[in-house]
Amino acid sequence: MEQTKIEFPPHILEEVNRVIQMFPQDKQKSAVIRVLHIAQAQFGWLSTDVMDYVARLLHLNPIEVYEVATFYSMYDTKQVGKVKLEVCRTGPCMIEGAEKIVSYIEKKLNIKDGETTPDGIFTLKSVECLGACGYAPMLQAGEAYHEHLTEQKVDELIEMYSKNNSSVNYMGQ
């Protein structure tokens, strides 16, 4: 594994500062949620080192960052693939066949729900309601919503992301 240095490049730091300045001067803790999104986009997942770095940037106790990072379901405190396929599994999506989509992807990628492909490209994760109930079944990959899924559409998505996966999970800035 190549080691990435835990430090934002200047243009990202600029973005972090913009986020911090959205809040009153002594309230920079408010920025932690978005900064963690940015960090996850930059480093792939939130390792302890990444969270400690965010804590330093925002002058927080590391434990305060760990508490937040482990509360919200979008953050990954374990390593994941370059493309997270997050299939909504709640109510309306279930009636419209979300489970079939999940098992289709499981078969196609030969991984189970929650696992990552050996090449480190795809992680499959079924998640709770993403607010696309009328366009079910659906999945989110990075920031993009893919709705009205069919097996054919899943094939196309996987093909597309297999080829182009460098900045899919890019979120937060």
């Binding site: 302890t48 106790n61 590391p62 434990i63 305060e64 760990y66 508490e67 482990t70 509360f71």
Partner: protein
């Protein structure tokens, strides 16, 4: 301030008492005295800011909101975080609804609790044990695998046994308010939430040992005392020492002539008023460290009192002492 604040009247289970505005129902109930058993509290801790409201064991029924607005409150309220109003009438142990809800809460709290009292150091002074005895069902209806965590050492002196934790948050508030940097907190969410340092870190601070005393269950225990004795075989004595960091007012728990452990002094509601430093708690284990002032008063209902002074001293201890 010379003006006198007018007291307000509240009636709890038929006992009327006058309290200062801003007093919670729970604290008012505690002030009533002998005629009233106050609501149980597993998470509220009067000296810790922000504590309370979470465990829901102290739910009471407000049958009359106030003199001004006598309507009853639609839901049971957490007595630890609801302030009294003038003329309020509260049903605590006289409310079937509240007792029923508490029974439910006890069942919820015990759902994932390992019930390993026979091997738990807290047994005998565990608030959950008392609560279950007073308010619980005789059996559990939960038939699934219980939540389990590995035991971890957080620092040299403290053992964290998360499986027993009821997530009262007291230890987090303690670390926040008593020490200069909090290293542990609540991680994850829902029933996966846990007390942790995230990375196995030492809780290293002069007052961090107090998390053991505020813990209502056996989740945080004193490693210097682990498995040394059951509490009901110990003789608790009030003791003082000269200490530059804390009041030096503590309780030493004796087994024979040995100090098995040191804790802060708890009041009749199980709360510490004067927190003690780690030095007093973990390092002063010699009789010469302390000036013993007399036996510690322990509630007559406690098992600690049950065979108080007749505690059999384990034979190996006698041997060691005589050696």
């Amino acid at each position: 301030m010379s003006e006198t604040v007018e007291k307000i009247k509240v009636t709890i289970d038929g006992n009327t008492i006058e309290v200062l505005p801003g007093t919670t129902i729970l604290n008012a109930a505690r002030m009533v005295g002998e005629n009233l058993v106050p609501p149980p509290a597993m998470c509220y801790y009067s000296s810790l800011n922000g504590s309370g409201g979470k465990c829901r064991t102290c739910l009471v029924e407000v049958s009359k909101g106030s003199e001004k607005d006598p309507r009853p409150m639609p839901k049971l309220v957490a007595s630890c975080s609801t302030q009294v109003m003038d003329g309020m009438e509260v049903k605590n142990n006289t409310s079937d609804k509240a007792l029923e809800a508490r029974k439910g809460v006890v069942e919820f709290l015990l759902l994932n609790h390992p019930l390993d009292c026979p091997i738990c150091d807290q047994a005998g002074e565990c608030h959950l044990q008392d609560l279950a005895f007073e308010h619980g069902l005789a059996h559990t209806r939960y038939e699934f695998k219980r939540r389990e965590f590995d035991k971890v050492d957080i620092g040299e002196y403290i053992k964290l046994h998360m499986t027993r934790c009821i997530l009262c948050y007291r230890c987090v508030y303690t670390a926040n308010q008593l020490t200069n940097q909090r290293e542990h907190g609540i991680l994850n969410r829902g029933d996966a939430a846990e007390i942790s340092t995230f990375i196995e870190k030492n809780l290293d601070n002069e007052f961090i040992g107090n998390v053991i005393d505020v813990c209502p269950v056996g989740a945080l225990t004193d490693k210097t005392f682990r498995f040394k004795s059951r509490v009901w075989f110990t003789n608790p004595m009030d003791a003082t020492c000269e200490c530059s960091k804390c009041s030096g007012e503590a309780v030493v728990w004796m087994v024979g002539n040995d100090i098995a452990r040191v804790t802060a002094r708890k009041d009749k509601f199980g709360e510490v008023k004067n927190f003690i430093c780690n030095d007093c708690r973990f390092n002063k284990k010699e009789l010469t460290d302390w000036n013993i002032t007399g036996p510690r008063h322990i509630s007559r209902d406690s098992v600690i009192s049950a065979n108080h002074y007749e505690a059999p001293i384990p034979s190996h201890t006698i041997l060691l002492n005589n050696a």
